[in-house]
């Protein structure tokens, strides 16, 4: 049987090789032209603890981690017990026979992984034994693996040859054991090698690179899962003349230091998660009223307060769009794939310069920790917007009129007070009603500068539309493709620009009978925002801390579509 994709879940204890095996499989596959996506969960404890990583290998580009597990690789008994029910019918379980014994599961094959690795003379080749066994299951040609190993370990070091030999031997041993067991899943179709350069990276890495490509100069942050990796990346790489990356002592410091840097002329960013974002509330309002460009990244996790630090959710939308008291509506870009993490970050900087204010870039745990192959961005095609700088003399009225005005940079003519109190046109505090009217209108009016034209659309004529946001894009897009094949009358819209929405998109949505919005929160936050703008939106909600399954979305959208069509006929 020919297969177009397969899903492997590696489960065990932290430190048992769960992550290295998963990454190894993804690397082998992408190197020969498959597409791969890995999805990891973390134990909440520091050392050990149950952990799993899922890898999906596909002939076509992948959008989601996959609903069903074809193969479970269980490193210990607990992993087997926890995950065995997720293995699909006719799936396979590989278990580490050096670690535990398993009786009575006809799908299970015990591999003495460590012993086989030892027999190659290289204890560290254990994950290659597993990869060899997996390769046999889907009939992946041996030469793919040999090529991968040769390339990976040819590092110009003395021991390279020996390491290559032992790893190839380990793959062979895994393969033989699997062959002897008689298990097979079918034959994975040959990959189509993309004719463009690719990167394999996680969402947070793509976002960090995008920020740097967008001109980031100043980064401060406070450690918090799942945003910490961005801070660490910046501390290592945002260095050199005129650059600054630093761990401050709270998110209150982050946001206010950021505003100082933005005011001083720098492109500045911080990344945090819910708890830190909540602490930034007052500061974000200050950025809005004082008109200072900054980018705040919210890598969402689950629940209020400390909530679910290592799980995924899309429950911060309301908090991000309306983070502060006193009439604010903060621009939101919400990314939906690893690739969008890169381009969304650039866009966030462009937006913050274009309207001179804070922009919130929303992502989530499931994207932050997802590794995926993406086309290598062509930096020569990236458009980066700079600061509109005031070039005149003193006596400038920074906040005059209803339109955006160039920003003076400290050290140069045009001194003014950036003011968090309501102010007059030179930035001095005033409480005159006509000033508050002018400034309020000025602040909201600038949002018009962020209206974009393009968005994703398919089957524009359908009166029922599926439109998700953020990281639910993956499962929703796969669900949509299946619905389309099944002839369910539903169209597709998607944008990462949630506030302001592309005006043409909003106009279209307003004409529709029903807009179905899958989102990972209890209240249906985006659906609610759409309704407030005159769109007949209804949410599909989930709040398990895990991403949507494609199957669930197909069922729900089908059900909602059918019941809507019945209603219409009834009328």
């Amino acid at each position: 049987m020919d297969m177009r994709d397969f899903v492997v879940r590696f489960a065990g204890e932290g430190g048992q090789g769960v992550v290295t095996s998963a990454e190894g499989l993804a690397q082998v596959s992408t190197q020969v032209g498959y597409h791969a996506l890995t999805f990891a969960t973390f134990p909440s404890q520091i050392l050990g603890g149950p952990t799993w990583t899922q890898v999906r290998i596909c002939v076509d580009p992948v959008f989601s981690p996959g609903d069903d597990v074809d193969v479970l690789v269980a490193f210990n008994q607990e992993a087997y017990d926890t995950h065995k029910d997720e293995v699909r019918e006719n799936g396979v379980v590989i278990f580490n026979a050096d670690e535990f014994d398993l009786q009575g599961d006809p799908r299970a094959l015990g591999l003495p992984v460590d012993e086989l690795a030892r027999s190659t003379g290289n204890n560290r080749a254990a994950n290659m034994v597993i990869i060899g066994a997996l390769a046999h299951l889907v009939d992946m040609p041996q030469n793919y693996l040999d090529e991968f190993v040769t390339k990976r370990f040819s590092r110009g070091r003395a021991g390279d040859d020996e390491i290559i030999r032992s790893n190839i031997m380990a793959i062979g041993l895994g393969r033989e054991h699997m062959a002897a067991s008689g298990f097979s899943l079918g034959s994975l179709e040959d990959p189509v090698m993309p004719d463009y350069a690719q990167l394999m990276l996680k969402g947070n890495e793509a976002l960090a690179l995008g920020a740097l490509a967008g001109g980031l100069e100043f980064y401060v942050g406070y450690p918090i899962s799942p945003a910490t990796t961005i801070l660490l990346y910046m501390e290592r790489n945002l260095v050199g003349e005129g650059k600054f990356a630093y761990q401050v002592s709270s998110e209150i410091e982050s946001i206010t230091a950021l505003l100082g840097a933005g005011f001083a002329g720098k492109k500045a960013m911080t990344a945090t998660a819910g708890p830190g974002f909540s602490l930034m509330s007052e500061g974000i309002g200050l950025g809005w009223i004082a008109e200072i460009p900054v980018v705040i990244v919210d890598v969402q996790r689950g629940g209020p307060a400390t909530g679910l630090p290592t799980k995924t959710e899309q429950s911060d939308l309301m908090a991000c769009m309306f983070p502060a008291h006193g009439d604010v509506r903060i621009p939101i870009i919400a990314v939906g794939s690893v690739e969008e993490c890169f381009y969304g970050a650039i866009k966030a900087f462009n937006w913050s310069e274009r309207y001179q204010g804070p922009v919130v870039l929303m992502t989530e745990m499931a994207l932050a920790e997802r590794a995926q192959n993406i086309p290598k961005p062509d930096l020569s095609k990236v458009q980066v917007q700079g600061r509109q700088v005031y070039q005149g003399t003193n006596g400038y009225r920074r906040y005059a009129g209803h339109e955006l005005s160039p920003m003076p940079i400290p050290g140069n003519p045009g001194a003014y007070v950036a003011n968090g109190s309501e102010h007059d046109d030179m930035g001095d505090t005033t409480h005159l009603p006509e000033r508050h009217v002018q400034m309020t209108e000025r602040r909201f009016g600038k949002l018009k500068l962020l209206e974009e034209d393009d968005y994703e659309v398919d089957k524009p004529e359908e009166s029922i539309v599926l439109m998700t946001w953020g990281g639910s894009k993956g499962p929703a897009l796969e669900a949509y493709n299946q619905l389309k094949e099944q002839g369910v009358p539903v169209g597709w819209r998607y944008t990462m620009f949630l506030n302001p929405l592309p005006p043409k998109l909003l106009e279209e949505l307003k004409q529709k009978e029903l807009v179905i919005v899958p989102e990972l929160n209890y209240q249906g936050q985006f659906a609610s925002i759409l309704r407030s703008q005159g769109v007949k939106a209804e949410a599909i909600t989930q709040y398990t801390g895990l991403p949507f399954k494609v199957r669930h979305l197909v069922e729900e959208v089908t059900r909602m579509t059918e019941s809507r069509l019945k209603e219409t006929v009834g009328v």
Binding site: L199, V239, V248, A257, G260, A264, A415, V417, D428
Partner: protein
């Protein structure tokens, strides 16, 4: 209303100490302009929220840049400005409530970092702008609008606090002496690190302390203020500590450690070690 701006709608009460502090800061900034030749726009005044912070709108003559942010956060805003542009002269102006109550969490970290900004703190022992509530420097037992039966907690000694936290320049001044105060502010601005000039700046509306500060011989009131003798060595930490045990409020430079590098100097030092890579090179690490 101010001279330069008809729309500005805040005024200090007659006799408010903040007038003198404003005068002193104007002196220091103009002196700096004359000495360094750098334009007034090279100065950035970061203001806290309170009667004191309104100083940023009331400065006369050539105008520096200003940032009037939110209550308690003038230090981290100043950090952002300074670390973005170390060549700027960054001055914080804030009250005792802003700096020592809601903003107290920021003093320790900036002291450890030795952030090169100068904070001018106007201590009136009360929340002026919100009309007379108790502040961290209000004494135990004092009746204020928010302590109808007397304040329940002890006052802090800000100068001791700064010394303990490791602030590398600490001076104490009085708003009625703008010239000597200006000299302290100038020394603070020139100090390569975190400097605090803590100023007694009485509030005539809610906590008029002029008499107790200056004394009144006729009423037999001894002045709380006293000048630090010339023999005091500000480089001597133990001596600084001792000075603060003598009671009253000493005026002058209490402590200065000029040997530590400031945060921007530390950053510059580590640049030498860190090789900056282009985005193209950084992407290369993920290419396969």
């Amino acid at each position: 209303m101010s001279k330069k701006n008809a729309e500005y709608d805040f005024k200090w009460c007659p006799g408010c100490g903040d007038f003198g502090v404003r005068r002193a800061l104007e002196f220091s900034m103009v002196d700096r302009l004359e000495e360094t030749g750098l334009p007034m726009e090279n100065n950035v005044v970061i203001a806290g929220i309170g009667c004191s912070g309104n100083l940023v709108h009331l400065l006369e003559g050539p105008q520096p840049y200003g940032f009037h942010g939110i209550h308690g956060r003038s230090l981290p805003i100043a950090m952002g400005v300074k670390m973005a542009r170390p060549e700027l002269n960054v001055v914080v102006v804030a009250g005792d409530g802003d700096f020592l109550s809601i903003g107290a969490e920021h003093i320790g970290p900036q002291a450890s970092r030795n952030l090169n900004v100068c904070a001018v703190i106007m201590d009136n022992g009360v929340y002026g702008l919100t009309k007379g509530q108790s502040s961290p420097t209000t004494a135990l037992g004092v009746i204020t609008s928010s302590t109808p039966f007397g304040k329940l907690e002890s006052e802090i000694n800000p100068l001791e606090l700064y010394l303990t936290l490791g602030v590398s320049f600490i001076a104490s001044g009085f708003s009625s002496q703008p010239r000597p105060l200006a000299s302290l502010i100038t020394q603070g601005m020139e100090h390569p690190g975190f400097s605090i000039v803590h100023v007694q700046s009485p509030c005539t509306a809610y906590n008029d302390t002029y008499e107790s500060l200056k004394g009144n011989a006729k009423k037999g009131i001894q002045p709380a203020l006293w000048s630090i003798p010339d023999e005091h060595d500000p480089g001597d930490r133990a001596a600084a500590h001792e000075l603060l045990q003598q009671g009253g409020i000493p005026l002058g430079v209490i402590y200065q450690d000029s040997d530590r590098l400031s945060l921007d100097q530390q950053v510059e030092k580590t640049w030498a070690k860190a090789g900056a890579k282009s985005v193209q090179e950084l992407m290369g690490a993920f290419e396969f």
